[in-house]
Structure formats: structure tokens, C-alpha cells
């Protein structure tokens, strides 16, 4: 992943968050507080601006700036979580032209940060339910020698499946957990936005 792709990825996330804002907020309104779409839209608009004014030198810089900006601008649960995901991944992504395997390493570090902060397990009905299979698919594709477009495509599919898998679950973390059994039957908004993030990666990769 070169710097152009990294920037294209972040721009693609911003575009798809803009397009999917209302859907995310609707999902969050069913089992949360109806702000997830707005939160990410505010965040990625700020990321776009930050990257425009402070151009990053490496793909890792792009992700660090993305993460730091999300932490400073989003708030809520998703701000620190996605912020830490991108920040930790960016810090690990020291290569100037990272391979798919490098990217998988970096994002694993990001996932570790998310899990450290939120202590969610797979099955708790959070973004972790989409992140975890996405990163497994990314690593598997990288190990089998796939290029970035192919690996990203596999990750995007796994993330989407992971997001869909949250529908029947009862939430154990985040606001949706307050609903108890009533959280069942709804897709987790954070898992849905994670799926959008990997779809954007696949788009940016080509």
C-alpha cells in the first residue's frame, strides 16, 4: 500500500460515510442513541481537512493523522475506538511501501488497541465482530500471496459478513447492551461502519 492508496482509502471512507451517514444513524437509533453516522461524518470530514493541510509523508503517517483526528473530533465510543485503531495501526506501519502482510500486522495492532480500550470479545455485538474476521481474511489472503486488491476484497467480504452476523446477537458492550434482549434483531452500527471501512479499502486498492 503506497501513500496514494492510503490517502485514497481514507478519502473513500469519508465518501462512503457521507453517503451512508443516515443508514448508520438509523441503525444506531434502533439500539443506540442515533448519532453514529453523524459522529463518523464529523470525524472523517475533519480527517479530510487535516490531511489536506498537513500532508502525510508515509502511509503510516496517513493512518496516524487519521486516528489522532478521530480522537480529537468524534467523541462518543467510536471516536476513541476508531481513533486508536488507525493510530496504533499507523504507528506500526513504518514501511514506506507496506505489503499486504505489513498492513495485516499494522491493523492487528489497531485491533489490539480497540480491544484493550473497549474489552469487547467477538460475539459482544460491536465493531470487533466485523474487525476480527476482516483482519483474519486479510492475513490469510496475504499469507497465500494475494496482492492488496485481492486481500482487501477478501477482508471487505469478511467484514460485511461479520457485520451481518451481529444481527441476531444480544449486545454485551456499548449502549445497545442497555436494551438487553431487545438488542437482538438489529445490526450493530459500529460493525456496519467497519464493513464500510473495508469496502473502502477494496475500492482504494483498485
Amino acid at each position: 500500500m503506497d501513500i496514494k492508496t492510503a490517502r485514497a482509502w481514507v478519502r473513500a471512507i469519508a465518501a462512503s460515510v457521507e453517503a451512508g451517514k443516515d443508514r448508520l444513524t438509523r441503525l444506531d437509533s434502533a439500539i443506540g442513541d442515533a448519532d453514529h453516522g453523524n459522529n463518523l461524518h464529523r470525524g472523517f470530514t475533519a480527517v479530510d481537512a487535516a490531511l489536506a493541510t498537513h500532508p502525510a509523508a508515509t502511509p503510516g503517517d496517513v493512518l496516524v493523522t487519521t486516528g489522532s483526528t478521530l480522537i480529537s473530533k468524534v467523541g462518543g465510543a467510536s471516536g476513541p475506538l476508531y481513533g486508536s485503531l488507525f493510530r496504533a495501526a499507523g504507528k506500526r506501519l513504518t514501511q514506506s511501501a507496506p505489503t499486504p502482510a505489513d498492513l495485516a500486522d499494522a491493523l492487528d495492532a489497531g485491533l489490539a488497541a480497540v480491544r484493550k480500550l473497549g474489552s469487547a470479545q467477538v460475539g459482544d455485538k460491536t465493531m470487533v465482530d466485523a474487525l476480527t474476521p476482516a483482519l483474519e481474511a486479510l492475513r490469510a489472503a496475504a499469507e497465500s500471496g494475494a496482492d492488496l486488491p485481492a486481500a482487501a476484497h477478501a477482508a471487505a467480504k469478511a467484514a460485511a459478513d461479520g457485520a451481518a452476523s451481529t444481527i441476531p446477537l444480544q449486545a454485551r458492550k456499548g449502549r445497545a447492551s442497555y436494551l438487553g434482549q431487545r438488542s437482538q434483531g438489529h445490526e450493530d452500527p459500529g460493525a456496519a461502519s467497519t464493513a464500510m471501512i473495508f469496502t473502502a479499502l477494496a475500492e482504494a486498492a483498485g
Binding site: 439500539i31 442513541d33 448519532d35 473497549g118 454485551r172 449502549r175 436494551l179 431487545r182
Partner: protein, 333 residues
């Protein structure tokens, strides 16, 4: 839902501008979303900083002032503020005696305040955090996000704020805040959903003959949906949930009680609710030492109310009575 606003995007800034215009005793930094006391905090005093999503007014900015908060950090509507805000607030108000973060227990609030506490520590500011989690509608367990912070936040801010004002040290102020929280239980019911500025419809649909029971303060649906019924029955159920959880509140206990409107409930209805709460507590042999009835911890334009019962140590009542001068809570001064 119609609202007095210009654009959804400018709502918060416009509202904060009005807050600042109305209260010269507040310094409202609209850009950085930090509200402090214009006159600052007296030398050597611990400073209480709170914050959370907006939409709960007067919480928290309405409680900045002598005897209560040193600063408030308003987030976007129903969204916790970001670490930058809390850090700026802590830096602005710390006298060297340390800062107490009063944090409502929501995943987002906790994570953002934790990050801010780390950053403040890096800057040499001593920070203690008081986590408020009084809402018995939510099952408490280590496998969940735990109870929400709701009405007790006001009690923590008032009582710990009075302790800070009289000069108690950082550890003592934080400890008092934690004890107030531990002694408090809340439960809320919504008659209507709230609508976020800019949203095209309320957070949930509620038919004319149903209510949401066990709601939080973010317009989210509650623990269950039930049939509308007479107020006395609703209040009896709310109090049953509170008393079942509040094991050491028994005959002979003193209590501080808050009957809190969610934003669109007339005061006349809140008094009606309070009358029933008082009767139930009297039946349990509990004496209400102090009370508040009104809109303090709201959820935008939601119709509904919450009840908070704090088992009151004598020291709580003493600190409760201490003078306070803020836009939305004032006495003795």
C-alpha cells in the same frame, strides 16, 4: 419535530453563545467547547470538571459556578466530548490542588475521559475520576457496559463541589463523590421519545397508549415497553425497582430525592410524581431530608421523568446545604 434552531450544525454553538450572553459569571469558549467560571477557582481549591454529550441541559454547563463545577465540557448532542476538551478544561482550572473528573458511565464518556486523564497526567495535573452509575434499569455485571450515569450526577456534582469549595483535598473530594454515587439509585420512564436537532424523526416511535420503561438520557429505547397507566402505578413500579436494589436504604434512613423532568414534562406533573414518591418512602420509614423537583438532567424534548434516591449521610446533607451559585442551581448566596 420543530425546534428553535438555525441549522443543525450551528445549534450547539448558537446555544452556547446564548448561555455565555446570559451568564457573565461563565466564560464560554465556543471554539473549544469549554465552559469555566469567569472568576476562576479559588487558590488551592480542588476543581471539579464534568462533561458529556449535550442535550441534557442544564447538565453540565448550568452547574458551573461557586460551590459546584469549575468547568464543563459539552460534547455534541448525545455524544461524549473529546479528550482535547477535558484536557483544556483541566489545564484552565487546575490550581495545583488537582482535578476531579465527574464521568457518567457510558463507554464513550469513560474512554474519552480516560484518555484525557492520561494526557493531563503527562502535563503534571493530578486527576481523580468519579464514575457515576446509578441507573438500576440496567443490569450491572462485569460482562456488560454496567449501569448508566443519570440523575445522581447532579448530586455528585453538588455535594463533591461543596467539598471542593470548602477546601477538601483531591482524594477526599473524589471519595465523597464516589460515596454519593454509591448511595444513589435512579430509574426513568419516557412518555415520548426525543428528537435530535436535525433528525427527521424521534429516536423511537411510541404509540399514544404505550411508554418506555427504564430509559436512559440519550433518547434510546428503554428496558421494556409497557402500556400507559395511572401515574401512581408507574411511580410505584419505578420506586419498586429502586428500593429492590437499594438494600441499605431502610426504616430510619435519610434520603436526598430528585424527581427530574426529561425536558417536556410540565412541573405540575413532576410534583404529582414527587407526592407519590414521598408517600412511598414514608411507608418505608425513609425521611426525605432534601429534595429537588424540576428539569435538571434532561433528554432534549423527551416527556418523561426520572427518580433518584440517595441515601444521605449527615455530611451529604450538610454539603448539600452549602451555598451554590450556578445558572441552574442556586441557594444561600
Amino acid at each position: 419535530m420543530k425546534k428553535f434552531l438555525n441549522t443543525a450544525d450551528s445549534f450547539l454553538a448558537d446555544s452556547l453563545a446564548g448561555l455565555g450572553a446570559a451568564h457573565p459569571a461563565l466564560r464560554v469558549d465556543i471554539e473549544n467547547r469549554v465552559v469555566t467560571r469567569s472568576e476562576g477557582v479559588a487558590d488551592g481549591r480542588v476543581a471539579l470538571v464534568s462533561g458529556g454529550g449535550s442535550g441534557h441541559e442544564p447538565l453540565h454547563a448550568g452547574f458551573v459556578g461557586d460551590g459546584m463545577l469549575a468547568a464543563a465540557c459539552p460534547g455534541e448532542i448525545f455524544t461524549s466530548p473529546v479528550p482535547d476538551q477535558m484536557l483544556a478544561a483541566a489545564a484552565a482550572v487546575d490550581t495545583g490542588a488537582g482535578v476531579v473528573f465527574v464521568v457518567k458511565n457510558y463507554t464513550g464518556d469513560v474512554m474519552n475521559f480516560d484518555m484525557a486523564a492520561d494526557l493531563a497526567g503527562d502535563d503534571g495535573i493530578r486527576v481523580e475520576t468519579v464514575l457515576v452509575d446509578d441507573d438500576v434499569a440496567v443490569q450491572d455485571s462485569t460482562f456488560t457496559a454496567g449501569r448508566r450515569g443519570t440523575g445522581a450526577t447532579l448530586l455528585v456534582e453538588k455535594i463533591a463541589g461543596a467539598a471542593a469549595e470548602r477546601g477538601d483535598g483531591l482524594g477526599v473530594v473524589a471519595d465523597i463523590g464516589r460515596r454519593v454515587n454509591a448511595a444513589s439509585r435512579s430509574f426513568a420512564v419516557a412518555l415520548t421519545a426525543s428528537t435530535t436537532p436535525g433528525a427527521d424523526r424521534p429516536g423511537f416511535d411510541l404509540p399514544e397508549d404505550e411508554i418506555e420503561v427504564g430509559v436512559g438520557i440519550h433518547g434510546e429505547p428503554g428496558r421494556s415497553r409497557e402500556k400507559m397507566r395511572p401515574a401512581d402505578e408507574i411511580v410505584a413500579d419505578m420506586m419498586a425497582a429502586i428500593l429492590a436494589d437499594h438494600r441499605d436504604l431502610g426504616s430510619g434512613s435519610d434520603a436526598i430525592v430528585l424527581v427530574n423532568g426529561m425536558g417536556a414534562t410540565p412541573l405540575s406533573e413532576l410534583y404529582l410524581v414527587y407526592g407519590r414518591v414521598a408517600a412511598i418512602l414514608a411507608d418505608h420509614g425513609v425521611t426525605i431530608a432534601r429534595n429537588l423537583v424540576g428539569d435538571y438532567v434532561t433528554s432534549l424534548d423527551m416527556a418523561g421523568c426520572s427518580i433518584t434516591v440517595c441515601k444521605a449521610e449527615e455530611s451529604f446533607v450538610h454539603l448539600w446545604d452549602a451555598p451554590v451559585r450556578t445558572p441552574s442551581l442556586r441557594w444561600g448566596i
